[in-house]
Symmetry: D2
């Protein structure tokens, strides 16, 4: 069974747009932060700094299921799988109080060096899969 990583957050006021709900692009900020938390858990922040390698998003697929509003307590469950050079994140945002689904996303990423040459997924990550 795939390991799931949980990231908790509360919606902030400035993240709402003129329609009074969280803007569609802000969901990608949330999802990115959930991935940073995983990178941090595997001590990959030093790796990024030292090697100048980085992790770029190749494709994002997100279904918006329910709106988010200010002060909504929310969490993201993230799991990862390797597919060739790609690291694919499956992410689900849910309301923490109601467990209601908020958004479901699949994010295809790839590690590259500073010249944008594709790299293998770091061993420390693949060992965890």
């Amino acid at each position: 069974m795939k390991k799931t990583y949980k990231y908790n957050f509360t919606v902030r006021g400035y993240e709402l747009d003129s329609f009074g709900h969280v803007n569609n692009a802000v969901y990608l900020n949330y999802l990115e932060q959930a991935r940073w938390e995983i990178m941090n858990e595997f001590n990959l922040l030093d790796y990024f700094k030292k090697t100048k390698n980085f992790l770029i998003v190749i494709e994002t697929n997100i279904k918006y299921i329910n709106e988010l509003n200010i002060f909504d307590n929310t969490f993201i469950d993230t799991s990862m799988q390797k597919s060739g050079f790609y690291l694919i994140f499956s992410q689900m945002i849910r309301n923490k109080d109601t467990n209601q689904k908020i958004a479901k996303a699949e994010i295809k990423c790839i590690f590259v060096d500073k010249d944008r040459t594709p790299l293998d997924v770091p061993k420390i990550l693949t060992d965890s899969l």
Copy 2:
């Protein structure tokens, strides 16, 4: 042949992230603004204000093809099609100087009233398709 709407913009410095290129979520900001330009062309801003109806994003699919950097001159070509209640935007971001593809996206949207009841796509839009 489907009508295409063009939106021109130049990448701003604060849109870059710590990897020195435009952050993945910012692409959704650009794509949204290209759609606002179309809404404006059809005088739908007053419609949103008067009716309290709005246009929400249901699903986003975006392939990131090339990076964007500060001062890149860029444009987005957008076309629309109706599918039941849905209005689907096909959007391509390109570099204006090289015509290189930057990102390709499909954004599925729906008009809703203030109680989130789905509405038909406004006639002024469907007449243009």
Copy 3:
């Protein structure tokens, strides 16, 4: 002695700019959220929704003292004072682990109705000062 309200947060990865630290504008997002937390504590979110009144920023003065980086644990201490129609927030961002000062800000705000007529600071707030 003035009451102080505390807001805790951790720096997110997408809040960094191309210089690898939190962008100067993002500090204003943090400060705004600390004020939303206070508004929420006084149940003013319903007030905003019902009355269509809102709280606008008239002037911001911020000194940036130290940089913020991803995963920095941080808090904001906020106190308020009334000055005529104005509500003035004194806000200090500090590193939670070191207590180091990060930024010091004074934000002058005013309540207005939907026609932008200035309003008295709501009694529930002035009673707390």
Copy 4:
């Protein structure tokens, strides 16, 4: 007489907040971009990349005079002065159609090297003042 640099922009839809006008933090994004345009005019982008030096904001003072709304045509007039190590930007945002003042800001900046040691303002900039 001090030289003035002009930056033109149009307000984008996602820059509005739940009060339906441009969020206070977004003004700092606009002001930053106006400064990037000046840095670019003096070919300082290569300087930043090669030297790893950068320009950081030490203090921001902004008075919000009038609201901005979607599709407002706007410009920023920026002038610079040197004061010791500091480079101080005086910036005024105005509505392009009405010339109405939107916001007035003073931004105190300093060039630093990658160890955050303060540096003299580059000669190419001081020669222009």
